[in-house]
């Protein structure tokens, strides 16, 4: 019996996201595998674009999976499952931010994220020895308007391509490109003002 379940688990592990999503429409247990694959990634993503506590983020991410399960019949494989679930996560985060009705003060960008974003901005390998510099970068990122920050997080931290970002943020490609460009300009300007460049 254990062999059967083991083999089933192995089969699920090998199945693609789209295949699992199709199977999950009639079997919620299969959906559990998708949750396992994406819970950490979505947790990090929501943390990067919001200012909620870890507990709140866990609640939001669980709610995202419930919404995704309810909406499985709308997922037709036209684009990747990851793009689709990120879209739901993004919308759920925005709804949660609106419900709180408090302007965000700082978002949770950790050190690695701050360095990664900074290096992607300037294409220069610099040594960031001091915590002070990293803290400045985090503040700059937090100060960026939400519309720039979210696309930059998707592009440089979540490593999404333009086509995926278009679907996640539900804006035209030209708008996404303009937002990323403008976000980079703002970031560079602030970095220069703070003596990082």
């Amino acid at each position: 019996m254990d062999n059967i379940f083991g083999r089933m688990a192995q089969a699920q592990n090998k199945a693609s996201d789209n295949e699992l999503a199709e199977a999950a429409k009639t079997n919620p247990d299969v959906f559990g595998e998708l949750v396992k694959r994406y819970q950490e990634r979505l947790f990090r993503y929501v943390r990067r674009i919001s200012y909620f506590s870890n507990e709140d983020i866990e609640d939001i991410v669980q709610e995202v999976f419930i919404k995704a399960y309810r909406s499985l019949n709308i997922f037709d494989g036209e684009y990747k499952f990851s793009t689709w679930i990120y879209q739901i996560a993004r919308n759920a985060t925005i709804d949660a931010i609106r419900k709180k009705q408090v302007r965000p003060k700082t978002v949770s960008i950790d050190e690695d994220d701050a360095v990664k974003l900074f290096r992607s901005e300037i294409n220069i390998q610099t040594q960031l020895e001091t915590k002070e510099r990293i803290e400045i970068i985090r503040k700059i990122i937090s100060s960026l308007p939400y519309k720039y920050r979210e696309v930059m997080v998707l592009r440089f931290l979540e490593d999404k391509d333009y086509a995926e970002i278009v679907e996640i943020v539900q804006k035209p490609r030209g708008t996404v490109a303009a937002l990323i460009s403008r976000g980079k300009t703002l970031f560079s300007t602030e970095a220069q003002k703070n003596g990082l460049l």
């Binding site: 959906f31 559990g32 819970q39 866990e58 709308i74």
Partner: protein
Amino acid sequence: MQDFSKKVVEKIKEEHIVPDSRFRLLWKSYVFWFLMLVMISLGALFFSLVLFNFSDFNPSFFPHLKLFRLVKILIVTAPYLWIILSFMALVFGLVAFRNTNRGYRPSALFVMSLLVLVVSILGVVGHLFKVSNRMDQMLFDRAPHLREMASPFGERWSRPRDGMIGGRIVGTIENDFFLENMRGENWRIHVNERTKFSRDARIVPGEKVGVIGEKIDDFVMQALFVHCFNFDRDFEWRTRFPKTAPIPNE
């Protein structure tokens, strides 16, 4: 971060959550697609009415009307009601498209350009198939008070100071003819060797013509060009021209 995959699956099972039907998830999108089609249809209809209200213009007029006068007449007598309604249909069509499930992908400029193209093509087709004629007549049978606002044809051909006057020929004398305009005024129209005529223009009583020329005196005009109205603007003429009109004395 803890693994809550089991928690999510348990919640789905305990609360008997099932995936919603595709129709239930997409019905709003279907409604907006339908609204967009309605807006395109209305936009095309309004645009065909715009074309209809300019259809009395003929390129053969242009040499006889100075550019400034032509532009002024076009601006003053444009069918603004239908132009505004066409524009509103385009805007609402764009908004409806934006609310569909795929409406976020193309840029607003691209969508608007496409809508303008589609509405223009359908509008021209509607005009060629005389849909606009029928709509125009139906509208003014039911709402004659809208005539002044929506159909500037009468206004356009009642501008003697700008050299345009239209009406029905009620009599002829020597080379001249008498014209009863759309306001019921009788005008004497001088014809000389400089006067040009459209191919189908006949100077006989009862003929509906438009005259482009220069106003010489009160109710007297020198004709530069006489054009025959060969479309049926019956609703315009019905209340303006009695069955028999007396020929004015010299």
